[in-house]
């Protein structure tokens, strides 16, 4: 496969995953921000959403006030923000167009339709209803693309690079989300695990669409360490770090089995995978959750760079 094609596919995977994450993040944050403060409705909910999306600095540069309208517009339709949902879909579509031959007709149509639909919203948010519609649409569109790709694409390099990009991005998003919620959202004097922040934890779960999954897995009330357990080491949850690394490693292996070559990306992915596979959540808490997540995000970025280098993007 052409290296440029591989790079484009990898980024399509990342862009779509990012768009989907932003959509869920906004939805969950809206819910949280709407709660009365006695239920944990935090005034800094939107700031934490920006942090989880890794957009604090970019947003600050615009000079806009941190409120729901400005932040949601920035994360959804802002054309100047390269990570906004609009920009992600535009980039994904542009990449897909450049490598049109590597995608099936169904996958291309899904991505093309998603961009055409979202571009119709323009670059300004008119109302909460519009936002809600758009969020619903984006989640649906990304799922439609996944479905089309999954059902129609050859199980080969193109499919694996696409999934590899998505898994790297998903791991990054989950880690960031958990980190932010633990350390930005909670007031410093609030003990982690206090009864007050039930709604904070459910916000995390909703962002990764795992509210119901949590109940099924733990059959327990929402507890912070179990939320962390679910998002970090539980392999059943597709957005957990462990599940993401299972997937990353599997796709790198498949790519290697096709070319017969392994490289630095494999070594980094294997190391990352081993950390998660061996770790239980207690050990991670003992090490310091924030420290663990910070290191994870750095390592995950390094893996992304190693993949680009190894396959000459």
């Amino acid at each position: 496969m052409l290296s440029r094609t591989a790079g484009n596919l990898y980024w399509i995977g990342r862009y779509l995953e990012r768009a989907d994450f932003s959509a869920r993040l906004i939805e969950a944050t809206q819910r949280l921000a709407a709660l009365p403060s006695s239920y944990g409705g935090a005034s800094n909910a939107w700031e934490s959403a920006l942090a989880a999306a890794c957009q604090i600095e970019a947003f600050a540069a615009t000079g806009m006030a941190v409120d729901e309208h400005e932040v949601t517009e920035f994360l959804t339709l802002n054309a100047g923000n390269s990570s906004s949902i609009r920009s992600c879909l535009e980039s994904a579509r542009s990449n897909a167009r450049a490598v049109r031959t590597a995608l099936t007709e169904e996958a291309w149509e899904a991505i093309n339709t998603a961009w055409l639909e979202v571009s119709r919203y323009g670059t300004h948010l008119s109302s909460r209803e519009t936002l809600a519609q758009m969020i619903e649409y984006v989640k649906h569109a990304v799922a439609a693309f996944d479905g089309a790709a999954n059902r129609t694409m050859l199980r080969g390099d193109a499919f694996w690079f696409l999934n590899l990009g998505a898994a790297i991005e998903r791991a990054d998003n989950s880690a960031r989300l958990l980190d932010v919620k633990y350390h930005l959202l909670l007031p410093r004097d609030e003990p982690v695990g206090g009864s007050l922040d039930y709604f904070q934890w459910t916000t995390i779960l909703r962002t990764v669409s795992a509210m119901t999954a949590y109940r099924w897995v733990y059959n327990d009330s929402v507890k912070p360490w179990l939320v962390a357990d679910l998002l970090i080491v539980n392999r059943q949850l597709p957005r957990s770090l462990a599940a993401c690394y299972d997937e990353i490693l599997r796709h790198l292996d498949l790519l290697a089995s096709n070319s017969g070559r392994r490289g630095p990306a494999h070594r980094l992915a294997t190391a990352g995978h081993a950390k998660l596979a061996g770790g239980n959540i207690d050990a991670i808490f003992a090490f310091g959750l924030h420290e663990f997540l910070t290191q994870f995000i750095i390592d995950n970025n390094r893996l992304g760079e190693a993949i680009a280098e190894q396959y000459l993007f």
Partner: protein, 483 residues
């Protein structure tokens, strides 16, 4: 705009135009007329909307240069098919084969022994001093001896048996993706009609193209296929959709210049598994941009060293470099002589009478008759920079006359032909619109392949004769039927 009395392919003449009337319909169009009569206006409107949705969704768009508003536009698609009967087509097919064979022999000759110039058939300076004559190709023979692998010959019709060649496109003719997609859309929209009318399929084009490309590979390996790629200028090119579409249908990599490199006069592409040798490049990039070391040095689209690998015979470019001389419009005017010279036969397809403005007498005639002529740049394409006399204002004509006098050798003129019309769905119902036809002719080292049909382009504006997509023209599905 004044309407020219034109031959209508459904009614024979344009005297009356009621698509629901059974009178005077040519045999070829009987089923179509019935279909039109059975389709109320609303149903046609719904089908048109459905077709547009389909095209938009699969992303068949093209870009118009210098149009920031609509960087991606749809080519209007007309859902009334254009019919050509099998006997009509057979004659066209023979004529196309003859003409493209002559074009290939002409190119081999002007870059080789130059017999046609020595024989005085064409003035030597018209070829040798022509900007489209590529000095790098002098004395060279492309792999397989084929110059124009893919030719698009623009035909127009003025009467029941009167077809003319309007232009030869021997560089990088486009439009074949519309021929293929138009058929797919029609099959979805009007399956019943295909049941009644037996239409020759066009879907084998990608396979024929791949066979053609493989036949001219410089490396003949036993048991393995040559590596063919399609070289595109990138996604901002107006025909990018077609490039990706064709690469996909052919199952070959769609590459940009930066994906290729040349080492020891061999072309490789950069892949995730390391360099892979490339044998045949179906390039949709003009000569000027393919190699910055030889041509336009500022081009970022090409591949440094490509011409050297080409000269070494290690890679095939389709079409060959330097074919622009064959579709120069001044050379075009000599096509009847070219056909006779190489083929020893009378041309089957006629040329449109053409005045070469480089000749003083012709120039005088053209200047005197501008309001009734079409004047084109000899190296122009896409309908840019041409004057359609009958539709131009006095000031436009005066300005054009000045241009013409300053550089007469840059122009040719032709009478304004009454292009045939076909029934076309418009907002106001079915109406006659002017059409042309671009069949595609494939030439490999193992023979010529022609798909029955081609791209019918239609001027969507009433009375307009300009069918180019860059000027708002649309397309129709073209049906070769066994009448």
């Amino acid at each position: 705009m004044q309407a020219l009395p034109a031959f209508d392919e459904m009614f024979g003449t344009g005297e009356f135009y009621d698509p629901r009337s059974p009178e005077g319909v040519t045999a070829a169009y009987r089923a179509i007329r019935q279909w039109l009569a059975d389709s109320p206006h609303e149903l046609m409107a719904a089908r048109r909307a459905q077709a547009e949705l389909f095209f938009r969704r699969i992303g068949i768009t093209f870009a118009v240069y210098g149009d920031a508003q609509a960087t991606e536009r749809l080519i209007p698609f007309d859902i009334v098919p254009r019919i050509i009967t099998r006997p009509e087509w057979q004659r066209l097919e023979q004529g196309l084969k003859q003409r493209v064979a002559a074009l290939n022999m002409f190119l081999a000759d002007v870059y080789g022994p130059q017999d046609i110039l020595k024989a005085g058939i064409i003035p030597a300076e018209l070829v040798l001093m022509n900007p489209a004559y590529c000095l790098h190709m002098v004395g060279r023979r492309p792999p397989g001896g084929v110059w124009v692998h893919i030719a698009g010959i623009d035909l127009v019709r003025t009467g029941p048996d009167d077809f003319f060649v309007l232009e030869d496109n021997a560089r990088t003719p486009s439009g074949v993706s519309y021929m293929l997609e138009n058929r797919e859309v029609m099959l979805k929209l009007v399956p019943d009609l295909f049941d009644q009318v037996k239409v020759a399929p066009v879907e084998t084009y990608p396979e024929k193209l791949l066979e053609t490309l493989a036949s001219v590979s410089p490396r003949k390996q036993r048991g393995s296929h040559p590596t063919c790629v399609l070289l595109t200028p990138g996604q901002y090119n107006s025909a990018f959709y077609e490039h990706s579409f064709l690469a996909d249908k052919l199952g070959i990599e769609l590459v940009e210049g930066s994906d290729l490199f040349v080492r020891d006069d061999i072309v490789f592409m950069r892949t995730t598994e390391g360099p892979q040798r490339v044998d045949v490049i179906y390039r949709r990039l003009d000569d000027d941009y393919i190699d910055p070391l030889v041509f336009e040095p500022s081009s970022m689209l090409g591949v440094p060293g490509l011409m050297s690998a080409y000269a070494a015979g290690n890679v095939t470019l389709a079409n060959a470099v330097g074919t622009g001389i064959a579709d120069d419009k001044a050379i075009y005017s000599y096509m009847p002589e070219i056909v006779r010279f190489y083929m020893g036969e009378e041309p089957i397809l006629a040329n449109v009478p053409t005045w070469r403005c480089r000749e003083a007498e012709s120039l005088m005639y053209v200047l005197d008759h501008l309001p009734e002529l079409v004047v084109k740049e000899v190296d122009g394409s896409g309908g840019y920079g041409m004057l359609v006399g009958p539709h131009a204002s006095k000031t436009t004509i005066a300005a054009f006359a000045a241009k013409l006098k300053a550089n007469p050798e840059k122009f040719i003129a032709q009478p304004t032909l009454a292009l045939s019309t076909c029934p076309t769905a418009t907002d106001g119902g079915i109406a006659a619109r002017h059409v042309d036809l671009r069949p595609f002719v494939l030439t490999g080292s193992d023979g010529v392949r022609i798909i029955p049909g081609g791209l019918t382009r239609v001027a969507m504006t009433a009375g307009s004769l300009v069918v180019n997509s860059s000027q708002g023209g649309g397309t129709k599905d073209t049906w070769i039927i066994d009448a």
